[in-house]
């Protein structure tokens, strides 16, 4: 059982590590990490704010032990969308290319196949998280001096704990988005459909619904996963966001598993 899952993991990794996908994803992750971190510091004196939706993040806030990861945690949503796209495309393409039948002939244990694929994509998400963390924290540290932000607390024991916590939270968030993408890929069996529906929901539908009725933000899946990455917000507690995210991810995984194991592979 374990050896077959390991084989599936490495087979999937052969696909994930191809330069166009791996370097393309790292490129996108790097771009957003550098952009958000730079804006956070370069717009520190801007009256329009330097954070998400015009929020003003002051020098005093950035000087706290959590200052090093301020930009990294706020990228969670963007990283999540990238993960959703990668997970959805990698899963749906098996149907659209017809390669699922090859995989199932070589590995008929469908639950094992799903576990192995997911394990491989989890490692991919770890790579995304680490790259983003290094760049975000690195750019923040590089720009902090020029903007008179005190970094003395960033790397003391409290600061290191904050970094570890944020790494974990961002990873959980990315993984949650990715699993939802994977479920969409299995459900819709088309990379274009699953990515467009996922991105449309997260970037447009949730924002419109949240703007019309702000109380819904406490329940929308994308917002919960984004809140997990930031470690909680003024409106949504971390525990609430994590619990609700777990429920959404569990439902997505259940749907994905049932469809993947029970559905005929006809075309």
């Amino acid at each position: 059982m374990i050896s077959s899952i390991a084989r599936i993991f490495f087979a999937e990794w052969r696909k994930l590590r191809r330069p166009t996908l791996l370097l393309g994803t790292i490129g996108a992750v790097s771009f957003f990490s550098v952009l958000v971190s730079s804006l956070l510091f370069l717009l520190i004196d801007s009256p329009q704010g330097n954070g998400d939706r015009g929020v003003k993040i002051t020098r005093e806030m950035l000087a706290l032990p959590s200052g090093a990861t301020q930009s990294f945690s706020s990228i969670g949503n963007l990283l999540g969308i990238i993960a959703l796209c990668v997970f959805a495309a990698q899963t749906a393409q098996e149907y659209s290319l017809g390669t699922l039948r090859n995989l199932l002939v070589r590995q008929p244990g469908r639950i094992r196949l799903l576990i192995g694929k997911l394990a491989s994509m989890k490692v991919f998400a770890i790579v995304m998280t680490i790259v983003s963390a290094i760049l975000s924290i690195g750019v923040s540290y590089a720009l902090a001096g020029g903007k008179n932000v005190d970094t003395s607390l960033w790397f003391n024991s409290d600061g290191r704990l904050e970094i570890a916590k944020t790494l974990l939270n961002v990873y959980i968030s990315i993984l949650g988005f990715g699993i939802i993408g994977m479920a969409l890929g299995i459900l819709l069996r088309s990379p274009i459909s699953s990515i467009s529906i996922g991105v449309l929901w997260l970037l447009i539908v949730e924002n419109i619904v949240g703007a019309v009725k702000s109380s819904t933000l406490e329940w929308l899946p994308g917002n919960q996963l984004g809140t997990v990455a930031t470690g909680g917000s003024e409106i949504i507690t971390y525990t609430h966001a994590l619990s609700l995210s777990a429920i959404y991810v569990f439902v997505a995984l259940t749907i994905a598993t049932v469809l993947f194991t029970k559905r005929d592979v006809a075309n």
Partner: protein
């Protein structure tokens, strides 16, 4: 050891629109090449998918290499398959695509280069799959099917897109595999090719088996016939009348009279025609070939 590579009994797949495969029964002995033929939509691919555990039958049962098709994990490590044409990742090279499947199935990675060599893709193994011609894709599909060094090889239209030389190479490859003990179950529209290599045949029409057994048994059940041409085309009708009067079925197709009867009767027909003042320019006894038998048994249009 099972003596049968494939055995199905009452195997069915029913969709909302009706039966795709209805109560099929057939057996394929070990070590043979078995052709699997039928018109488009006859249920060949559905049957193959059921044999490989990709779709669940709605009725009946089947066994592959002595194991029930409800437990594909028990036999698929000994089965190679290419279903409905090759399907690979366009952005990966041919070799990398095979390595994905070799890793997944736990087969030695070194086999990839050997197989690329075997199917004539050694020089293009590092090229991306999306740059392959249809024939090269087909060859890669066959290489993937050979990865497990299979006891049973199931191929769906393996010669699609191949040039005559490629078709001949595949024919020789299948013959070689069968000689080394691999059972080959191959569906193809190239009936003349199947006739050359198959010992067994399973013929499907509208989801039902119309023949399953040794190829020779099929031909033995068919009537030999003669092709007849006359110097004057208008005499063909008279020849038909002569044949029918002598108790032989006959008809004209494409300006040639087809008259059922053994080769020994050709002399008598020639004598009858000569007596009626008809000059025959062609009188050639024929044995039915697979293509003609197929059209007759499946009711397909030639």
């Amino acid at each position: 050891m099972p003596q049968l590579a494939i055995s199905v009994s009452d195997l069915s797949k029913k969709y909302d629109t009706g039966f795709a495969v209805s109560h099929t029964n057939f057996e394929v002995p070990l070590g043979t090449i078995c052709g699997f033929v039928g018109p488009n939509g006859a249920g060949k691919t559905t049957t193959i998918r059921m044999l490989l555990g990709l779709i669940t039958p709605t009725g009946g049962k089947g066994e592959i290499l002595g194991e029930p098709i409800t437990s594909p994990e028990k036999y698929l490590s000994r089965v190679g398959a290419m279903i409905e044409g090759p399907a690979f990742y366009p952005a990966l090279s041919g070799a990398e695509n095979l390595k994905v499947l070799a890793t997944l199935g736990g087969f030695p990675i070194e086999r990839v280069d050997q197989l690329l060599e075997q199917v004539g893709l050694a020089e293009r193994g590092k090229s991306k799959y999306k740059t392959y011609s249809l024939g090269m894709k087909q060859r890669l599909g066959i290489a993937a099917a050979l990865l497990p060094n299979p006891k049973l090889l199931i191929l769906d239209e393996p010669t699609n897109g191949l040039d005559p030389e490629g078709i001949q190479e595949i024919r020789q490859l299948l013959r070689k595999l069968a000689d080394s003990g691999t059972t080959v179950f191959v569906s193809s529209h190239l009936l003349s090719e199947l006739e050359l290599i198959s010992e067994y045949l399973v013929m499907l029409r509208k989801g039902e088996i119309v023949f399953a057994g040794p190829m020779q048994e099929l031909f033995d059940a068919q009537q030999p016939y003669m092709l007849v041409k006359t110097a004057n085309p208008s005499d063909l009708e008279k020849v038909i009348s002569l044949a029918v009067s002598a108790g032989h079925k006959a008809h004209i197709r494409d300006g040639v009279a087809h008259i059922e009867g053994p080769a020994e009767w050709a002399g008598e027909l020639n004598r009858l025609a000569f007596g009626a003042g008809i000059l025959l320019t062609q009188l050639s006894p024929q044995l039915p070939n697979l293509e003609e038998t197929f059209f007759e048994m499946t009711g397909s249009q030639k």
